[in-house]
Amino acid sequence: MPHINIAGLPGGFLTTFSSLRLVALGLAVRRGPRFLFRGLDMSLASGQVMQLTGPNGSGKSTLIRLLAGFSPPDAGTVRLEGAGEEHPGAFLHYFGHREGLRPALTARENLAFLAGLLGGDEARIPDALGKLGVARLLDLPVRVLSEGQRRRVALARLLVVDRPIWLLDEPLASLDVEAIATVSGLVAEHAKAGGMALVATHQPLAATNATLDLSGRREAAA
C-alpha cells in the first residue's frame, strides 16, 4: 500500500480515498430455518460514521464479518467502489470481540506484528498508545493487563495502520467513560479526515451521522 506514506500531511492519506464506497446490495444471511436479514442494502461513504444497532442475535456481528469478507453471504453482493483491483481486505480494519493480541507478547510486540501484517508503521506505536492513554503499558506483556487496558492496546492498531474503512464491533465494551470519549473522538477524527466507520454499539456515539437498525428483520425461510 503506497498511500500510507502520505499519512501525517494535512488532511491525511484518507483524502486519497474520498471516492471510496463500501456498497452492499440484497444481502441475506440464513441461520438454519430463518433469515437473520434479507434484501439488506447499505452503503458507507467517505466521512460517514454509521452506527449499527439491533437486539442481541439480530446479526450485527454477522453483518460486520460479512462486510469484512470473512464469510460469503447466502445472497447478495458486497463491493468496494473506487478501490481498483486491490484486495478489499487491504482497505479495512476489523475490530471484534477477539482482539488479536497474544498474552505472551508485549503491547509493542503485538502491535508491531499487526503493523507488519497489515502494512502499518511500527514507529507510531508509542504515539498511538499515548492517544489511547496507555503509553505506560508499552513493554508489558498483554497477559498482565486488565480487560479495559487490553482493549485500548488493541484499538491502538487503528492508529498504527492506516486504513480508510473501520468496521468496529462493540469497540466500547469494557471501556470507562473517559476511554469511550477518546474512542468516539478518534472515530470522529477519522471521518473528518475522509475515512469512514461502521460501529456496532448500544451506547450513544457522538460522532454518529448515519444509522442502520437491524431489529425486526428476521424472517422464516421457506
Binding site: 470473512f70 464469510s71 481486505g89 477477539r98 488479536g100 497474544r102 510486540e109 507488519g116 501484517l117 497489515l118
Partner: protein, 221 residues
C-alpha cells in the same frame, strides 16, 4: 513479503517465549528415544538395526506434538481474522507459520539426530545420511500436519483426530526417510530413496499450504 516475515517473526518469538520453545520438541524426542531400550531390551545389535526407524517415528510424533494448536490459538484470539485483512495471500502466511514450526521442531531434531543415533548404536556411516533424510523429510511432515491443523481448527480437542488424519498421509515420507538411513547403514546407495523423499517434500510444499489456506477459509463460512 513483510506480512510473511511478520508472521514468521511473531511465531518464532512466541515459541521462544513459551518457555522451552525449540528445546521442548527436542526433549520429547530424547524421552522417546530413551525409553526404547526399556521396551526392546539392551540388545545392542537389535537396537542398532531398528535405530533409523525409531528415530523417524520419534520425529513424526514430535512433529505432531502441539500441531493442533498451530492455527487454533490464532483462531481463538482473532489473529486469523487479521491474516485475512493483510491484503496478501493467506497461502503465504500459512507457509510462514509452517516455516516457523519447522524451524523450532524439524530442524533441531535433524541436527540432534546423530547424537541420539550414537545412543542407539547406529552405524557411523549412516549418521550423516540419517540427519540428511530428516532434514529433507521433516518439512514434509510439518506441511502435511499443516493441513490437518487447518481442518481441525474449530475443534476443541482436535489432537487425536489430527493424528488420525495426518499419520496415514505421512506414510510415504516415513518409508523413504527410513529407507535412506537403512540403505546407508547397510552400505548401499541411497540416492534413489533420497530423491523420492525430496519429491514428497516438494509435492507437500506445492499442495499443503494451498489446501490449508482453503480449509481455514472454509472453516469460517
Amino acid at each position: 513479503m513483510s506480512a510473511f516475515s511478520a508472521v514468521l517473526k511473531r511465531d518464532l518469538r512466541l515459541a521462544r517465549r513459551a518457555g522451552a520453545g525449540a528445546s521442548l520438541g527436542l526433549m520429547f524426542f530424547l524421552v522417546l528415544i530413551a525409553i526404547v531400550p526399556f521396551a526392546i531390551g539392551a540388545d545392542q545389535k537389535l537396537i542398532s538395526r531398528l535405530a533409523p526407524a525409531l528415530l523417524w517415528i520419534a520425529a513424526l510424533l514430535a512433529t505432531l506434538l502441539g500441531l493442533d494448536r498451530l492455527f487454533q490459538a490464532d483462531e481463538e484470539d482473532g489473529a486469523l481474522d487479521q491474516f485475512l485483512l493483510s491484503g496478501g495471500s493467506l497461502t503465504m502466511l500459512v507457509l510462514a507459520k509452517a516455516l516457523a514450526h519447522w524451524l523450532v521442531t524439524g530442524l533441531p531434531l535433524s541436527l540432534a539426530a546423530p547424537v541420539l543415533g550414537l545412543m542407539l548404536a547406529i552405524e557411523p556411516q549412516a549418521m550423516l545420511p540419517l540427519s540428511l533424510s530428516l532434514l529433507v523429510g521433516t518439512p514434509a511432515l510439518t506441511l502435511i500436519g499443516l493441513v490437518g491443523a487447518a481442518l481441525t481448527v474449530s475443534l476443541n480437542r482436535g489432537g487425536l483426530l489430527l493424528s488420525l488424519l495426518v499419520v496415514p498421509t505421512a506414510i510415504p515420507t516415513l518409508i523413504f526417510g527410513v529407507a535412506v538411513a537403512k540403505a546407508a547403514a547397510e552400505g548401499r546407495d541411497f540416492a534413489m530413496p533420497l530423491t523420492v523423499l525430496c519429491g514428497t517434500t516438494l509435492f507437500a510444499l506445492a499442495i499443503s499450504p494451498i489446501a490449508a489456506a482453503l480449509a481455514l477459509r472454509q472453516a469460517r463460512g
